[in-house]
């Protein structure tokens, strides 16, 4: 919550970024798309949830046997070839688990999108909240079931591509 609100004074019309750019002389009028736009929403979401991606990927990377990388180096692989052929396939379970975290959180999130979008950007979570505030519980539940179905569809297709159970 605080990490999200902290962006507002930074990106606002008289915020640090706009003042700084005006001071340097790059722009004459403050940039309007910095705050309460898709840009600020994505920026805040990335800032909040990168951590959930780093930890699982780091976890699976630290388990990679360093001898494999040495062997690839000895066999004459370039750095890029090592990355594509050894590190990415072995870090796949971590990538998928991190993706599941991020996708489920972002699909259900309405607070971040509401605050950083200035309540101007609609999201699936916002629909449910609006229905709940109107005391239309069955409609809210129907939307929740639809959202759950979409999220499960995305995640099951992800796990179809990479079988986590087998690779862990």
């Amino acid at each position: 919550m605080i990490r999200m609100i902290a962006w507002i004074p930074l990106l606002g019309r008289n915020g640090l970024v706009n003042r700084g750019l005006e001071g340097v002389g790059l722009i004459n009028a403050p940039l309007e798309w910095l705050l309460f736009s898709e840009f600020s929403v994505v920026l805040a979401l990335v800032h909040l949830f990168t951590f959930f991606m780093v930890v699982p990927i780091f976890n699976s990377m630290i388990r990679i046997d360093k001898r494999l990388i040495e062997a690839a180096y000895d066999a004459g692989a370039t750095g890029w070839q090592t990355l594509v052929n050894i590190i990415i396939p072995l870090a796949k379970p971590g990538i998928v688990i991190g993706s599941i975290f991020v996708i489920t959180i972002v699909m259900g999130d309405f607070v971040t999108i509401g605050v950083m979008g200035g309540q101007q950007i609609a999201s699936a979570g916002k629909i449910i909240e609006a229905r709940l505030n109107a005391l239309q519980f069955p409609a809210a539940a129907a939307n929740a079931v639809i959202l759950l179905g979409i999220t499960i569809l995305i995640i099951s297709s992800l796990t179809r591509i990479v079988d986590i159970r087998k690779e862990l």
């Binding site: 929403v41 990335v46 991606m53 993706s99 996708i103 972002v106 999201s123 629909i127 069955p138």
Partner: protein, 120 residues
């Protein structure tokens, strides 16, 4: 110890977590699904089967199909935000994890709990 007994003990060990999971996660989801098929009017829900919750959500969406209705636009917007955030976190997360794993201090306290297997 026989095989049967072993698997029984394994189930017993997993039981508390399974119970909590069923009680606080699966049961509410079942309730939500049930309530989503109830009927409602302006001020109360009516415990009778009806798909009004779903049909009201997509009211007029099929009729005006070439133009997307608000609900579909909202879902597409959410998906777009999701894809953008996912690709950016993946890019940044992978890079950060790479440098932490292969170029970080090898005995930093942060990485200690993740270490396993042979060390170089």
């Amino acid at each position: 110890m026989t095989q049967d007994r072993k698997s029984f003990v394994a189930w017993l060990q997993a039981a508390p977590m399974m119970l909590i999971f069923a009680l606080f996660f699966l049961l509410p989801l079942v309730f939500v699904t049930i309530v989503s098929t109830w009927d409602y009017n302006e001020y109360e829900m009516i415990p009778a089967f009806s798909l009004r919750g779903y049909s009201d959500t997509f009211e007029g969406c099929i009729a005006g199909l070439p133009d997307l209705c608000t609900i579909l636009k909202t879902y597409l917007k959410t998906l777009k935000l999701c894809v953008l955030t996912w690709s950016l976190t993946l890019l940044i997360g992978f890079t950060v994890a790479y440098f932490l794993a292969f170029h970080g201090r090898s005995y930093s306290p942060c990485s200690a709990p993740f270490r396993s297997g042979p060390r170089m």
